[in-house]
Amino acid sequence: MHFSFLSLLRQAFANHEGWQPYWQQAAPKPFYDIVIVGAGGHGLSTAYYLASEFGMRNIAVVEKGWLGGGNTARNTTVIRSNYLWEESEAIYEHSLKLWESLSHVLNINVMYSPRGVMMLAHNHHDTMVLKRHVHANRLAGIDNEWLTPEEAKAFCPLLNIEQNIRYPVTGAALQRRGGVARHDAVAWGYARAAAALGVDIIENCPVTGIRRGADGAVMGVETGKGFIGAKRVGVVAAGHTSVLMEMAGVRMPIESFPLQALVSEPVKPMMPCVAMSNTIHAYMSQSDKGELVIGAGTDVYTSYSQAGGLHISQHTLEAICELFPATRRMKMLRNWGGIVDVTPDRSPIIGKTPVPGLFVNCGWGTGGFKATTGSGHVFAATLASGEPHPIAAPFSLDRFRTGRLIDEAAAAAVAH
């Protein structure tokens, strides 16, 4: 059923009895052209674009738990495209453009809110690095502008720009088109749109093995609901990528770390934009519901526990209280963790694997929510044709052999 004010009104008179499920619980068929492992935002958007743009219908998304329950449910929803390297600029900007029309394309309000993402500099080195981003982005036609501390304060009145603090703000790079979106709506919206096009979404169905034929090529996946055959399998399992690829005998350049976030109690609007500081490790925005959404750093060790240490959040809140001293009396309401798949160069891996028919889309680490749109789109193209989409091509697994890394980490330390 189409979502609109009118349909809402009509249902209001019908006691909301007429709404249909966003997606149906599908039972697995014996064989699909493409099986996607992992119903996070990326997996679901891949399925949606496969169906909507590449005309494929015989597709399943297999999810071990509830869809959108991985990092999609856990992220701080920062969306921006002002990355440093051309390859990154291409994929994140592709994604950003898709965000701008996503609500209408999917017919669900994903609340994409381009309220501006401001990245703070605190010293000469930060300034240099962020200005390099500004220049690189401008060259690529991506909006990013440099603000003086006073301009930064005008944009975000909560910000402390006194120069006598431990890490004074020396300036900021602002991408006005950056912002946030409602993470759950994104997952549900893609699921709804994909299901409407005939994609089977199979929840509570963990993939436990990847079956390969005599020629080594993929035949399908073993799951908690039995074997599911497939011509091509796309693994989109974020923090669990290593575990899944191990099933096919492929060792990945990935480590899985706990990444924490927290929200405050809800209050009336206080924070108009997203602000982040890589130097002192904190970032913050305020959701439409009113809670401050704050991201912390990763723990230092690998873990699959979706929980991290208290000292990590403490460190983040120290930084938040320095940057925004008016938040000191705010209260942390809930803290949680996700498992992020971190690559050596902090850039994703999209494309083929050494196993014929097996494709992977992973390594988005601490910053892949913003690419949910574009990643799904280029991965769908890759799965449909069997060859990497041009935007995806540089993000091949092979780059680790040749050394042609896309090192966003070296350039900017963190990337949310």
Partner: protein, 964 residues
């Protein structure tokens, strides 16, 4: 009329009074009251408005589980705290509290119109609308119109706007046993654990008084008082009241937060507002009790509807009766006891309406004896009233069907008891698990980590009177029209949950996120089980199969400031200063942060701009001599039989063949082949090296050296120690450098041929030991004087006095940067970004020709690191000599447009050089070394700057100034 103070009962200070205001109206209460009890005593029952529908709300509960009674406490500028639970706010003289989320007033709230439009606001309505037509494909209506409106409407209390002036403390603590909760179970656990004086016990209680339920129960008071008295005599016991355990982590790590001054009218100036206790406990006893659940039926949220246990506590602890004409609706016997207690306190119990077919015999008999009307086997159908309950309607039930017509009983208070839920959030946090206990209708402990015990009600070991449950929407109600609230704060109703399941949200996690049930500031303490039960029912599956959502820390919200503790302002990170800092300060230095260090950026004189000072200092060094504090440079001493062999494997340059007394500029790569550090390797003697690193890099380098020393090159015998801080370093650079140092140096022949460039000698500087290095980061003749740090200040003063006599002076970091850039010397982190190899920088020669293994050697041989067209270090001269390029600016070809194309490279360093009389820059440029003389474009906002590619060495390419 509702709520009043009975003439007897309670554990507060009846003799004294305190005054406070709520929404500007003054009231009186007593010390020992909470804001909630004092408001109730004053007959104030409307205390808040709900999140979505702005429904009038009163106090529901008695403690941290309170969802409704949220207020803002105002202690003056910067000390305004939103979203405080009135049930936890202790009264003090002059307390100012305000209701929230209402306009213009609590009594008349325009937002209540939402309540009339409620058919339009079911769960998730915002996902379905507010998009408007797409404009250029974008959701402009959402961004410009709807989102701002929604943001303003959402949120609870007003956001703080001023910096919070209060201090927050923090302590690490250790104990053998930590007991959480001071009810009967907690007290007993603490008593028995602390019998052994060697066992350190911490008992924490989030309430302002110890005793839990015992405080409300006159028969329990004696045990409580004796237990506390005994515990106080034991030196191995720490009693912490007002202290919430908010998080249980791994291996007995526990977070407690103590409210230190919020309850005081006039806190001591030095007292912290709250204190964080980070406890490591050998064993943890969770004695957190149980929380009562409300009943779910239409209009169950009116002020005057209250949990039975809360009313009991209100009466028992505060001597306050919630009303005069009370109806008790229950599924447990415990609520009968509440009824009796209230009756004893002077209230009239209109009826006890029991959901069950049979009440416990003892309570039934006692009710009869007291003449209280009891009706069993019935359901509730609604309440009447507007801003306060005036009556309750109910009907008898047979199985799931109504057995008769509905009836209404008039009352001013409705107490509800839907059963109890053991408080097991902490167990879940510590990765224990829960299991559904059907007879108890509650989640009880299942797998309990071996260092945890669960005691009292939390364990699920309920006395018979607390058993019994009415889960979910009470039968006889269809959820069509009225609002039967499940999550009071977030206005989630039974029908919202059913709608969610109808729309395909089958996982309880989906239901939570779609309806927001359990996501409010109370995190569903009173509502989660009802929500779960409604979801299970409408999914036609069992409750355990439906499962519960994840419990996360904190148990109750914790102040940011408390978690940040003392780490604010200058304590946020340590500030490191060199031994010569004061000297720089005296000379007017402007400082710059480099890592944790404060370094002198420049030394502007009176009336001189920083820029001008930098130019002057840069000139001074080339023309005369400059003095520079280089103490922050990392220094590591490496000794031992195999020190040389070890460093030879570490550095990309061969260093084993370095003769004692010689220095070498050396590069450190990572195993991938990228440059990560540079510095000087100086060989003091056969088995002793003094190496330097960048200021920020020394920690990383030490870590790396120790790694290879301890785990990789274990065949080599050597030892390393950080000596950065033992040596103060004064760089003396410029044509007159030797003149400056010569008279002060003893025991070293500093003549040009005796001590050429890149040598090190040990001797004395005016009597103190000195390591003198002949090295230069400016391209001028240079010495680096290392003296033990205690002597740094006066050594620098002495050297400066000499330099000034020769026309020289101090120079700062910025001048140093210009000087080195004029010579094409790189800075790690400026010319490099982790993707640069020595070859890229034209430093390939440094690696020598002889075959040897070193870190990064194999990495350097990977295809892409050898590929053609990599970016290489070059110099740039802007066409216009006055122009200084911007660091980070991109470089494109002259004919290319300013946007939409790939860059050729970027500017890494750019300055105005007084020595060149023009702006100049270093850059990393594709294939740069083959492009000398080419003109490139640097697009800047609104303009295009042209620059010529030149060698990165702008001055003295033969290096003549270095020598001699």
């Amino acid at each position: 009329m509702s709520g009043f103070r009975a003439t007897s009962g309670g554990r507060f200070d009846r003799a004294r009074r305190v005054s406070f205001t709520f929404d500007g109206v003054a009231y009186l209460g007593h010390p020992g009251d909470t804001l909630a009890s004092a408001l109730m005593a004053n007959g104030v029952s409307l205390v808040g408005r709900s999140f979505k529908y702005h429904r009038p709300r009163g106090v529901l509960a008695a403690g941290a589980e309170e969802p409704n009674a949220l207020v803002t406490v105002d202690r003056g500028p910067g000390r305004i705290t939103p979203n405080c639970r009135a049930t936890e706010v202790e009264l003090f003289e002059g307390l100012v509290a305000r209701s929230q989320n209402r306009f213009p007033s609590l009594g008349f709230d325009l937002g209540a119109i939402n309540s009339m439009l409620k058919p339009l606001f079911p769960a998730g309505f915002y996902y379905k609308t507010f998009m408007g037509p797409a404009i250029n494909g974008k959701a402009k209506f959402w961004n410009r119109l709807f989102e701002p409106l929604i943001r303003r409407a959402a949120g609870l209390g007003a956001a703080p706007t001023e910096p919070d002036p209060d201090a927050y403390a923090s302590l690490f603590a250790h104990c053998e046993v930590l007991v959480v909760g001071s009810g009967e179970a907690g007290l007993r656990a603490a008593l028995s654990a602390s019998e052994n004086p060697a066992v350190r016990v911490i008992l924490c209680e989030m309430d302002h008084d110890f005793g839990g339920w015992l405080l409300a129960d006159p028969t329990g008071a004696r045990f409580r008082d004796e237990a506390i008295a005994t515990l106080r005599t034991r030196p191995n016991v720490r009693l912490l009241s007002r202290t919430q355990c908010f998080g249980l982590f791994l291996q007995g790590f526990v977070g407690l937060v103590e409210r230190v001054t919020d309850h005081l009218a006039d806190p001591a100036i030095d007292a912290p507002r709250e204190r964080l206790w980070q406890v490591r406990a050998g064993r943890i006893v969770i004695a957190t009790g149980a929380i009562e659940r409300p009943l779910v039926f239409p209009d169950n949220d009116r002020p005057g509807v209250m949990l039975s246990s809360a009313a009991h506590i209100l009466q028992g602890r505060y001597g306050v009766l919630p009303g005069r004409a009370i109806v008790v609706a229950t599924a447990t016997d415990a609520a009968y006891r509440t009824a009796f207690a209230l009756a004893d306190g002077g209230a009239r119990i209109e009826a006890i309406l029991d959901r069950r077919d049979h009440a416990g015999e003892r309570v039934r008999a006692e009710a009869e004896a007291r003449g209280i009307r009891v009706e069993t086997g019935l359901t509730l159908l609604g309440t009447t009233g507007k801003k306060h309950v005036t009556g309750v309607s109910y009907a008898p039930m047979q199985n799931q069907d109504l057995r008769g017509p509905s009836q209404v009983i008039a009352c001013d208070t409705l107490l509800v008891s839907g059963g109890f839920t053991p408080t097991l959030h902490l167990l879940s946090q510590a990765r224990g698990s829960l299991r559904w206990d059907e007879p108890l209708s509650a989640f009880v402990p299942d797998k309990v980590p071996e260092n945890i015990n669960i005691a009292g009600l939390a364990s699920g070991d309920f006395p018979p009177e607390l058993r019994g449950a009415a889960l979910g929407l009470l039968p006889g109600n269809d959820d069509k029209s009225a609002l039967a609230f499940v999550d009071f704060q977030n206005d989630v109703t039974a029908r919202d949950i059913r709608l969610a399941t109808r729309e395909g949200f089958r996982s309880i996690e989906h239901v939570k996120r779609y309806t927001t049930t359990g996501m409010a500031t109370d995190q569903g303490k009173t509502s989660n089980i009802n929500a779960l039960s409604i979801a299970a029912e409408s999914l036609s599956q069992s409750l355990p199969k439906t499962g519960h959502t994840t419990f996360r820390m904190p148990y109750v919200p914790v102040t940011f400031g408390t978690l940040a503790g003392a780490y604010r302002a200058e304590l946020f990170d340590p500030i490191r200063r060199t031994p010569m800092h004061d000297l720089a300060e005296k000379r007017g230095a402007v400082f710059e942060d480099i890592g944790l260090w404060k370094r002198a950026h420049a030394f502007p004189r009176a009336g001189e701009s920083v820029k001008a000072a930098v130019q002057r200092e840069t000139r001074t060094v080339r023309e005369h001599v400059g003095i520079f504090d280089a103490s922050t440079l990392g220094k590591i001493e490496v000794t031992g039989r195999d020190a040389a062999a070890f460093l030879d494997r570490i550095y990309a340059n061969p260093v084993a063949n370095l003769a004692p007394g010689r220095c070498r500029y050396a590069l450190m790569l990572n195993e991938a082949g990228f440059l990560i550090e540079d510095g000087i390797v100086a060989r003091l003697s056969d088995q002793r090296f003094h190496i330097t690193t960048t200021t920020g890099g020394v920690g990383k380098v030490l870590h790396l050296l120790e790694d290879y020393r301890q785990t990789e090159f274990i065949d080599l015998d050597c030892f390393l120690a950080p000596v950065t801080e033992h040596w103060a370093v004064i760089a003396v650079q410029g044509p007159k450098a030797r003149e400056v140092i010569a008279p002060l140096i003893e025991g070293i022949n500093v003549a040009a041929d005796a001590m050429p460039h890149m040598t090190i000698r040990e001797g004395r500087l005016t009597g103190v030991p000195c390591r003198l290095m002949r090295a230069s980061f400016t391209g001028e003749r240079g010495f680096e004087v290392n003296v033990p740090a205690d002597f740094g200040f006066f050594a620098m003063e002495a050297l400066l006095a000499r330099a000034e006599g020769l026309g020289g002076g101090l120079y700062g970091l910025e001048a140093m940067h210009i000087l080195r850039a004029e010579k094409g010397y790189i800075i790690i982190g400026q010319e490099t970004d982790g993707t640069v190899t020595p070859h890229d920088l034209g430093l390939g020669w440094a690696m020598g020709k002889a075959p040897r293994d070193f870190i990064g050697k194999r990495g350097l041989a990977r295809p892409d690191l050898l590929a053609k067209g990599r970016k290489q270090l070059v110099g740039l001269l802007p066409d216009d000599p006055a122009v200084v390029l911007e660091e980070g600016a991109q470089i494109i070809l002259q004919h290319e447009p300013s946007t939409g194309i790939a860059a050729q490279g970027h500017v890494t360093s750019a300055y105005f050089s007084p020595n060149l009389g023009r702006g100049f820059a270093l850059a990393m440029l594709k294939d740069g070394r083959n492009r000398m003389g080419e003109v490139v474009t640097i697009p800047m906002p609104g303009e295009r700057v042209l620059a010529r590619i030149v060698s990165p060495v702008f001055l003295d390419p033969e290096g003549r100034a270095l020598h001699g």
